[in-house]
């Protein structure tokens, strides 16, 4: 009797807490090593993955927020819309209701509460979605338009381009631990936390670990720039029983290659076996 083994598509998000610890380094190398993969750069405020890949990505869509348009011929200036806006995006001024577009979340409350249906909605673009329309590697990223405030809706739109038929989907996430990071990781099967072993790195890692535990996400740690600081990060991981998946040493050679926009596995192909093992380890933790 033959047994059919189906490799399930796995979504792996890469986070850090502190910025600059090496998320993009890990995300690009992982996606480039594994066959039939997709890389999604969800750091929409400052996307960088495209600088490292030898592929051209073009705009394939945009992220929009529906914003209110008030028909001033009908509007009675009752102020119900501005009173109900939880974001203070509408101001009831003498003779006019003023909209602060950039803080409008597109929730629809104002049009829902208007007693005379004076409010319609119009989409407003806040970001662009890019794709290389590639096979292996499929690459997508989102980019928030400079001056726009809300990055989370761009990430939400970007995730629609997730290809469930890929063996792995690697999601390079924003730094921090607020709502944008949560949006990037919320649908993932596993989260890789990339930390740098310095006091700032450890402090921010603890916050992100707490967030992932609240989200009930399986996760593991990669210590990058190992040797740059002290042993506190490793001690913390051991004490908290966190899985250390990989260590990448601090090495000026790696830093210089990164500065030129060359990925780790392209600069030093011997690392491919480490990223292959990383994927196997993660798959084991997800299915185990």
């Amino acid at each position: 009797m033959q047994t059919l083994v189906v490799m399930l598509s796995m979504k792996i998000a890469v986070v850090s807490g502190k910025g600059g610890t090496g998320k993009t380094t890990v995300a690009t190398s992982l996606a480039l090593t594994i066959e039939n993969s997709q890389l999604i750069d969800a750091d929409v405020e400052e996307p960088n993955c495209f600088l490292f890949l030898h592929t051209k990505a073009e705009i394939v869509g945009n992220a929009e927020i529906p914003v209110p348009r008030i028909d001033e011929d009908i509007c009675t200036l009752c102020g119900k819309c501005s009173d109900s806006c939880e974001y203070n995006a509408l101001a009831n001024l003498p003779g006019k209701i003023l909209l602060f577009e950039k803080i409008c979340h597109g929730c629809g409350v104002c049009s829902a509460v208007c007693p005379i249906d004076a409010i319609t909605e119009e989409p407003r673009a806040i970001g662009n979605i890019y794709s290389n329309n590639g096979e292996d590697l499929l690459f997508n990223y989102g980019e928030l338009i400079v001056g726009e405030e809300l990055s989370t809706p761009v990430i939400t739109k970007l995730k629609e381009y997730t290809n469930e038929e890929k063996s792995i989907v690697v999601i390079d996430s924003p730094p921090g631990s607020a709502c944008a990071m949560v949006e990037a990781v919320i649908d993932s099967d596993f989260v890789i936390v990339v930390g740098e072993p310095t006091p700032f790195g450890l402090s921010d890692m603890k916050i992100v670990v707490e967030t992932l535990k609240q989200l009930d996400k399986k996760f593991g740690i990669i210590i990058n720039k190992d040797g740059i600081g002290n042993e506190e990060m490793e001690d913390y991981c051991v004490k908290e029983n966190l899985s250390i998946l990989m260590k990448i040493p601090f090495d000026l050679k790696i830093a210089k290659q990164y500065s030129k926009g060359i990925t780790l596995v392209e600069s030093f192909p011997e690392w491919k076996k480490d990223f292959t093992m990383l994927e196997e380890k993660v798959r084991g933790l997800v299915t185990g």
Binding site: E46, N48, A112, S177
Partner: protein, 313 residues
């Protein structure tokens, strides 16, 4: 560490919130790209200008300056951000209109509300035909006014996964100004977060000057272009510092060329282990005792940056 708690309730945020006092000046240090060294650099500036300036850490979901300047005593203020929807199942008729209406996918088909997805817009509250939904205040974080060896420092901690970090940044900014005025200081130094969305925009609002700390990498340069565009939109005079410049001198020069007309590079600092060493010793780089010449050179550069700020504002 002693903490005293104040419940200030939910603050109203509107356009008027964006005005700042004429007397107190504001400098924000940002980076676009994370990990360029802005917190380390602002720490040294804050130490050198401590008689004149108050330090405010506005990187509210990844605050680090408390490590270098440990608080000995803090006043803690509750920050209530966006409300969260709560369904009263004694009244609920399970019509699911709330679930269908929610634009953020926060309500499941079994009417479980995912608090991480709920944006507090209250649409469900408005559309519920039996008024079974209430919007509840929740504490989204804290901000602190702490005693440190610099004098008062304002900082904050946003609860994980929360939205409205920009609003908490605004509280930090305002408290910073208030405390600066009380302490007889005329300058607030704001440590911003990486990126350029709402928390960063909130940290540069009302600033007289911005310093952008970048690194000589393709990523750093690309992110710098975007952040300078943002600062231009806000008409904030800006200057650039290239940190770890010797990692790639070619890109350092490209950045200097790119910046020279409008936002000149005022300093290029070499990569040096003193930055991490200082973190581990819980000091700013300028406080470290050293006999090493390259380290002393870096300390001199930081003195020059502080002097530049002191004279510019």
């Amino acid at each position: 560490m002693e903490e005293r708690f104040y419940d200030v309730g939910r603050k109203s945020k509107g356009a008027g919130d964006r005005m700042t006092s004429k007397e107190t000046k504001q400098l924000t240090v940002i980076s676009g790209k994370g990990g360029t060294g802005k917190s380390s650099i602002i720490a040294s500036i804050a130490y050198l200008l401590k008689d004149r300036a108050l330090l405010a850490d506005a990187d509210v979901d990844a605050a680090d300056l408390y490590i270098l300047f440990p608080p000995t005593e803090s006043e803690a203020y509750e920050y209530k951000g966006l409300k969260k929807a709560v369904i009263d199942f004694d009244i609920c008729t399970k019509c699911n209109i709330c679930q269908e209406s929610c634009r953020f996918g926060a309500i499941d088909s079994d009417l479980y509300i995912h608090s991480f997805k709920c944006e507090g817009c209250a649409l469900c509250y408005h559309v519920c035909p039996v008024s079974a939904i209430s919007m509840e205040d929740r504490v989204s974080g804290f901000y602190y006014n702490s005693d440190t060896r610099l004098g008062k420092m304002v900082h904050a901690r946003l609860h994980p996964g929360e939205e409205s970090s920009g609003l908490l940044v605004a509280e930090v900014r305002k408290k910073g100004k208030e405390e600066a005025e009380k302490s007889g200081k005329d300058l607030v130094l704001i440590d911003g977060s990486p990126g350029l969305g709402c928390p960063v925009i909130s940290s540069i609002t009302g600033s007289n000057l911005a310093l952008v700390v970048t690194e000589p990498t393709l990523s750093g340069k690309h992110d710098l272009e975007r952040i300078l565009k943002l600062l231009e939109q806000f008409h904030i005079p800006s200057y650039v510092i290239v940190n770890k410049y010797d990692i790639n001198e070619e890109i350092t020069e490209e950045i200097e060329e790119m910046c020279k007309d409008n936002t000149p590079v005022i300093s290029r600092i070499p990569f040096n282990p003193i930055f991490t060493k200082a973190m581990i010793e819980k000091k700013s780089v300028v406080e470290m005792e050293t006999t090493d010449e390259t380290t002393k050179d870096i300390q001199k550069m930081l003195h020059e940056i502080a002097k530049f700020v002191d004279e510019k504002i």
